[in-house]
Symmetry: C2
Subunit: 340 residues, 2 copies
């Protein structure tokens, strides 16, 4: 039995020509204010509107033992935001996708992170100084917000365009492993007999990217498959940052349902309606009030503070706080709840 396998690997690692590699840690920093989810962005230096970026920092293994430590440090240094929950999303090896590079330019690997936080007056000052902005998450994905019913942009622009591309023989075979464009479209956008699945944010974005109808497609040098080149959906971002943003929304929408992460986005005290509005803001659709409340109750996720809030004009609402101990008592449930 010959065991040359490892040799081969080890030898290949050194001498083969490789570009230098850098790790970029990218943070999708999320907060929710008044039922609107926001993500933190930094301005493009040249002021190009679709070239803003996510907070991003290089990973230096000499300074930080792990990615997460490095991420927390540069976010803290840049924004002074109190990061609570942090989770790795995905690592993209093709950050610039098909963008051509200079020969000596390092290759950048994107490690995406999701971080949940709250906006505070103190951090706001710092952010203003930097030009950092909280931008509505749905400004990047206007088709993802179904709280007021099916979004207009889907109904009037995306659906007709994609339907046309499905019929078009030139594009209808755009797919992977036996899936035609029509299959991908129906699965990710819930067309045909299927329902809209709010978790397929990334699938939808990737399909639109592949079809050349988002700004990034052109920038990366893809030929647009659409005859309507002017159709560009949602605000673009630098590099692959909108792809990371889509990954984050997919993941957060899924996670909500089985882990109590929503409380990372809530203030210390909140009403049950606040809580519901925040879940709705992330998941992108309305929830059933009574069922939502019962789920929170049986899950023992919250406890009353005793106080009440009269902010909304009607009957005062009881205030609650998150029962942190639930995490020690049992595998804490999330808030999977019926739509309305």
């Amino acid at each position: 039995m010959i065991t040359t396998c490892q040799d081969t690997i080890e030898i290949e690692m050194a001498p083969e020509q490789t570009p230098s590699i850098e790790i970029a840690l990218n943070a999708v920093i999320v907060s929710v204010v008044d039922s609107t989810p926001y993500v933190l962005t930094l301005p493009d230096l040249k002021g190009r509107p679709t070239m803003d970026s996510l907070p991003s920092g290089p990973f230096n293994p000499l300074r930080h033992r792990t990615f997460e430590i490095g991420l927390r440090e540069f976010v803290h240094a840049q924004t002074a935001l109190p990061l609570g929950y942090v989770e790795q999303l995905y690592t993209f090896g093709d950050r610039g996708r098909y963008t051509k590079k200079e020969a000596d330019e390092p290759h950048v690997i994107s490690v995406g992170y999701l971080a949940l936080t709250r906006q505070t007056p103190e951090s706001q000052q710092m952010l203003d100084q930097l030009g950092a902005k909280w931008r509505p998450w749905y400004s990047f994905f206007p088709w993802e917000d179904w709280r007021e019913g099916k979004p207009e942009i889907l109904q009037n622009h995306i659906d007709p365009l994609l339907n046309q591309l499905c019929r078009d023989t030139k594009t209808s075979n755009t797919g992977v492993s036996g899936f035609k464009l029509k299959d991908r479209y129906q699965l990710s956008f819930g067309a045909g007999a299927l329902d809209w699945d709010e978790e397929r944010v990334l699938d939808r974005y990737e399909l639109m990217y592949a079809l050349g109808v988002v700004p990034e497609s052109l920038r990366d040098g893809r030929t647009s498959l659409s005859s309507q080149d002017h159709v560009r959906f949602g605000c673009g971002l630098q590099f692959d940052h909108r792809r990371i943003l889509a990954t984050a929304l997919s993941r957060l929408r899924a996670k909500l349902k089985y882990r109590p992460v929503i409380f990372e986005l809530m203030p210390d005290e909140f009403t049950l309606t606040d809580l519901q509005r925040t879940v709705e803001a992330i998941s992108g659709h309305h929830l059933h009030k009574q069922n939502f409340r019962r789920l929170v109750e049986v899950g023992q996720l919250v406890e009353p503070t005793g106080g009440t809030s009269t902010a909304t004009g009607g009957r005062p609402a009881a205030l609650y706080r998150f029962r942190r101990d639930i995490l020690k008592e049992r595998p804490a449930p999330g808030l999977r709840v019926s739509r309305n």
Copy 2:
């Protein structure tokens, strides 16, 4: 409004002293034969028993556009295995953990991938030549296989040891964010009033690593918190490969329940009992036969081939095949099913 932020970042990326960085793609290649899950390992060059490794290859962005393409190519070149389903697991920035390095040694980032496949006679030849071996997954995590009831190693060795460490004041505060050792132990191992959660494979491994009771802890220079230094649970692997293996098992156990990935591990034709045994092999516990069958049926995951199999000695079993079209028809369910 001053917008120096991006400058700061961009400037930092170049001049600060950084070690050169390499990307290692690591594949957890899984197959199941006769109700035993196997993972493919490569032998240590020096024959040290706990220093075998996962198939691993460097990522060279000049040769491969994406991680997955690179991974598929080196796995194909090394093993000739027909990889079907492939999924990124996690990226670890601290591959060697606390291992000390030479100053000029490159820093290696581990990108873990899960790949599901089948053993074939052709690929077996190639694997034998390389010295690659299919090793039972549970030889690395003997406490994870509950098919024959609570594993002996848990009952007689791990539980007593961890209970003792929980009582010990020196170690009982080992934890993160307000979690004492006892909390972590109870949550991950299902001690106390909690149930065993088969998905918490990584939590369990990480806890044991932190407590210094797996071989990797010592190798990485951690001081063992256990007074019984001789206690070493499960076979070790090179670098952080067992951590990647634990991540893979966690992920696969979770994924089984909501996506029909189990069929990637099945031959083209199989009996329903085969299918159930395979799910049990991965999830690590017995399933309820009738409920399993009904779930498969209502999910329309399989269709009869018409043939039967008489391999087992009793009544011949009907053969089925996976209905691939289910993937196009609706969000295909997995096999979440009641334990038995």
